[in-house]
């Protein structure tokens, strides 16, 4: 039985003296009737696909609309210049998020996490962490269980689709998942994982889904950046011992309420927000056959 609340996961860990990832892994073994090895192998496939997507990024590719492409490459060149505001590590995160979002828009292979539109958030925080030698494959795979567990709770209490609850349900959910994964990777306690996930979602609460011309390009690609950076700041706050005043489950419930109240024009219909700006409409018209 999949978990429906962070409280359930934390209780399960408290009673069995387990780590967060073990709760999610054991639940998957139970739910899908698979062995520990089978489950972990499958999760490894997801991680492997993220790495492969990252190494096969093509900065010269352009999306169908030509709105997207080359931004990750530009960011990477800027970072190498060594004179950035955010510093080298955070700039790696930014480049990675842009690259993955662009790859998705350019019909390349990615891992939906939790959706294709938000596919850049998790790799953006995990790949630089891995490449800088702070974790090995095994630890990263374990952290993906933490992310998946949080995503499962969000899906069960609210939604993970822009059409259902706006971008808070895609980039917000991905950011919350990534914040938890990072906190686990840094050795944070189970409760801190919960706080990180809650804080990340709170920061993106209310984010609408307003893709120009209905395409997963603008603003989606760049929103992966804020999802990733927000995950880092939320994890750092949690690791510093700062808690979320509102518990994670209640934050997710609030996300649901906000999503339900969101006007349909702001839920992936491409009829409101950025899509309905003068420039957004001009772009849409220029794409019509």
């Amino acid at each position: 039985m999949a978990f429906h609340s962070m409280e359930e996961i934390l209780d399960y860990c408290r009673i069995g003296n387990k780590k967060f990832y073990e709760a999610v892994l054991e639940d998957d073994m139970e739910e899908r009737k698979v062995s520990r090895e089978e489950s972990m192998k499958e999760m490894y496939v997801m991680w492997d696909a993220m790495l492969l997507a990252s190494t096969s990024y093509d900065g010269s590719a352009r999306s169908a609309s030509h709105l997207v492409g080359g931004q990750g490459l530009a960011m990477e060149e800027y970072r190498r210049g060594g004179n950035t505001l955010c510093g080298d590590y955070l700039n790696q995160v930014i480049s990675q998020a842009l690259e993955m979002g662009e790859s998705n828009a350019c019909m390349r292979r990615i891992v939906a996490a939790p959706t294709a539109g938000a596919c850049g958030v998790l790799p953006a925080v995990l790949i630089p962490f891995f490449r800088s030698g702070q974790a090995g494959h095994r630890q990263i795979v374990k952290s993906l269980y933490v992310a998946a567990g949080i995503g499962q709770v969000i899906a069960s209490r609210a939604f993970i689709a822009g059409a259902a609850g706006g971008c808070q349900a895609e980039i917000g959910a991905a950011s919350s998942m990534a914040a938890g994964a990072l906190t686990a990777l840094k050795g944070g306690a189970n409760e801190q994982i919960g706080h990180a996930a809650a804080m990340a979602m709170k920061a993106l609460l209310g984010l609408v889904c307003d893709p120009v011309a209905g395409l997963v390009e603008v603003p989606c690609v760049k929103r992966n950046v804020i999802g990733a950076v927000n995950a880092m700041t939320s994890a750092d706050m949690a690791l510093a011992g700062i808690g979320s005043a509102i518990p994670a489950d209640q934050v997710f419930d609030a996300m649901r309420e906000v999503g339900e109240k969101m006007h349909p024009s702001l839920r992936e219909t491409g009829e409101g927000g950025l899509a309905a700006t003068k420039e957004g409409i001009r772009i849409t018209r220029s794409l019509v056959r």
Binding site: A2, A113, C119, G270
Partner: protein, 222 residues
Amino acid sequence: MNIFDILGPVMVGPSSSHTAGAVRIGLVTKKLLGSVPARAMITLSGSFSATGAGHGTDRALVAGLLGMRPDNICIPESFDHAAKAGMEFSFAHEAIRGAHPNTALLEVWDKNGRTVAVQASSLGGGRIMVNKLDGVEINVTAERPALIVHNVDQPGHVAEVTSMLAHKSINIATLNLYRDKRGGYAVMVIETDQNIPASSLDWLKRVEGIIKVTCLNLGEEG
């Protein structure tokens, strides 16, 4: 939802509904036909028609017809692959009445002239529903094997088919019967827990009164 519905699938972008779901629709159609079609006429409806080009829906559908899965990196070049495979295809844009917003109608022919018409919709997250087969409402999710039998509208056929399945130890999950007013025949839609062996299909095709046997087994895509 299991954790790999959250983390995953591995797929070619940009959209799980407009790209990955569209590949699955093509793939299911290919399976229902029994081979890669020689010719395909594809009608795009609703948002598949409006934003399909930007999402690569057209290339995704053709990729599926060629037997590609949603994570195949050749999906963007599927039109070239179709040319190499000798598959002709054309697209039309038309609002299909009463259909889900993301819907396509695929009319396909194999080289021997066998044909099926599949109307399917992409429900989100890559999940799909086959709404109609040859104009008859069937509503099959394609997450379980399915057997669709067109037969002359006379008693006895349901018993024949179900006892054949029982004999092969195949569990029936759902069974629905429809009547096609135009053809004057009946359609049985049976979802099963196990795949249906080719030998049983051949046997069914020879039974008197059975007009057409279409089968959707899982895990055979190549």
